[in-house]
């Protein structure tokens, strides 16, 4: 069975996602559509607006055959680790094609770019090293180096565009795998990824839709009917719901303990703590902590580490122990799983109660944390079985 893979957050599932799912199946001519979807916490270091089970239902209603959870240790990471974790799972599932959305403009030759990188890795690293010695932050050093080396050949290759950055890292991770997938970049239509306002009649970015939802305004024209139904009367999660808990942790834990957590670097713990003592909301704290070097996403990822108390050791352990958590499937998805489950390198888990000891601990904790402010601890990874349609 030919399979096409998609890596997604669906926060929430909107018309732009539906467009990509339709085109992915159509253009790849695959029989099965596999989605690797982040769990309850996302790449920008924030909670998903609705649960992973609700988002799975929306994805299945829009044509996905198999929805697999991208574990916390990959889901909340910056582009490189996020891509490595997700591509790794799709490789294990023997996907033939990877389809992903990219910013407006002609789709770039991602395969060529990945090959170019791997051929020139040493010179890249040398230039980056020099920039780091001149105190240029890592992310900026990488972007500058790429610009210097590729601008003449690929002028539209702009790593500042989040989906170009992601697509590039998908290509890099795909390139080093045993059986690389065919890459199928699709031009995103409608609004850009981060646009805060809706600009098109039926397409708006996730950011714009979340803001509409959180303000209690109408967003029906941007989301399919299945998502609309899921959103009715449900809890909408945002960072502010977790602020009292983060605030408490920042006020109580010693700087030494916070410094031991994943993603906390360079003495930033003192700044995080000092700002917490003065802030009265997450937004206020974030705006006080933020600098040119420490972007919103980076700080939010640190905040998540503190909130869930993720040590570097625990992070490494889970990164080295990937697994497939099946959130949902169609009959076709189930048949596909039945066909490949014996050759999978990583454990296939349909219920946490039967998982090998230890490997699901962090994702279980992430769900508990996600549900805490809403008193919904009963709605968890044990009580939610695989969603079947």
């Amino acid at each position: 069975m030919k399979a096409v893979g998609i890596i997604a957050e669906f926060n929430p599932f909107h018309n732009g996602h539906r467009f990509i799912l339709n085109h992915a199946k159509h253009k790849s001519q695959a029989e099965v559509l596999i989605v690797v979807m982040s769990g309850n916490f996302l790449q920008r270091g924030e909670p998903a607006i609705i649960t992973k089970w609700q988002r799975t239902k929306a994805a299945l209603a829009a044509g996905a055959d198999l929805v697999i959870e991208l574990p916390f240790v990959s889901a909340i990471e910056s582009a490189e680790n996020f891509a490595l974790g997700a591509i790794n799972l799709l490789h294990d599932f023997r996907c033939d094609t990877l389809c992903f959305g990219t910013e407006k403009g002609e789709a770039l030759p991602y395969d060529e770019l990945a090959a170019f990188y791997h051929q020139n890795e040493d010179s890249f690293n040398l230039i980056i090293k020099k920039k780091l010695e001149n105190n240029i932050p890592y992310g900026i050093a990488v972007t500058q180096t790429w610009e210097e080396l590729t601008a003449s050949r690929w002028p539209t290759f702009d790593l500042r565009q989040p989906n170009i950055l992601l697509g590039f890292h998908y290509a890099l991770a795909n390139h080093i795998g045993e059986n690389p997938m065919e890459l199928l970049p699709l031009n995103r239509i409608g609004a850009n990824h981060n646009d805060a306002t809706a600009t098109d009649e039926s397409f708006a970015s996730g950011t714009a839709i979340r803001q509409l939802l959180l303000r209690g305004e109408k967003s029906d024209s941007y989301i399919p009917l299945s998502t609309q139904t899921l959103l009715e009367g449900t809890d909408l999660h945002s960072w502010e719901d977790y602020w009292p808990l983060l605030h408490y942790q920042l006020c109580i834990q010693s700087p030494e303990n916070i410094a031991k957590l994943h993603n906390i670097v360079e003495g930033i713990e003192y700044r995080l703590i000092a700002c917490a003592k003065k802030a009265s909301s997450f937004a206020e704290w974030l705006s006080q902590v933020k600098t040119k070097r420490y972007t919103t996403n980076r700080i939010q990822r640190m905040a998540l580490s503190i909130l869930i108390q993720l040590t570097e050791d625990e992070f490494s352990y889970h990164q080295q122990h990937p697994y497939h958590h099946v959130l949902g499937m169609t009959k076709k998805g189930q048949a596909y799983l039945g066909h490949y489950k014996k050759v999978l390198r990583y454990p296939l888990i349909s219920t946490f109660s039967k998982a090998p000891a230890g490997i699901t601990n962090l994702d279980e904790r992430a769900t508990t944390l996600y549900q805490l402010p809403f008193n919904k601890l009963d709605d968890n990874d044990y009580t939610n079985g695989v969603i079947r349609v």
Copy 2:
């Protein structure tokens, strides 16, 4: 100047306390009344209903000349450590007399009891050891041993009465000091310490008064006018206010991390965590965790350790670094301080900003924690100076 000392919580200050303050000054014929008062968290492992600054005002209004904070590491401990910490401070202040309330009935010869204990310490410990070997919990083993050895000579000496237990530990701690104080036990009048209902026209226990206050009922007849004024429109603190934070910590921290905290013994961490996952309030959690061996007070002390993340190392450090934090004083109290401050063994601190590095850390954190659910972080140990009347 002759000084009489009192060890108190004033939670809140009521007519029973006023009675003891009056009699302490009168019977001891002291010129100065020194109160060592617990800060924002108390011996039963719970938050004080109102802040330490409010309770200081009430004490000063009722005749105290000097109010010194009993640091967190002593204030939240069971009778033995509580008494050691408090008596130690009073000894350093060269108090002549210690006045304390004791349960109804004739006041016991506490000095004699302390001397009897110190003469027979070895035989006591031998009997207790045997009981522990028979799996009798420590507290019960101590009480039983005392009963066996003293019932014929002192039939009213019942260590199950909280104030007899405290008085006895005051006497023990006093007995080992360089300049023991004269002991002045006073029969408590009106309600017993733990009585949950008010039984007398003008005297009710702290427990009964707190329940009236938290239910929003009238308690004016049991408390002096000065306390009544302080209570008007103020935040009333109870464990339920801290439950979301404790709940979060119990859901997020690993059993291994919780086991490292002070007072967490014998694998109880698994029970604490398991019950937290099912409970929806502090009261519910407490009733589920409670057993014969683990009393309410003991569990509440554990809960406090978890809430404030107090490790055994930190506890030891602070126990070995006592200090005098002056919460309030009259002119007479100030004169007394002026006279003795040069001979004090422990640092005298009127503002945390001038304290020796490290020693006030835990008490500062306790205040932050206490204020967190009420968004009153500005009302802290830096912004509150010594209260002078």
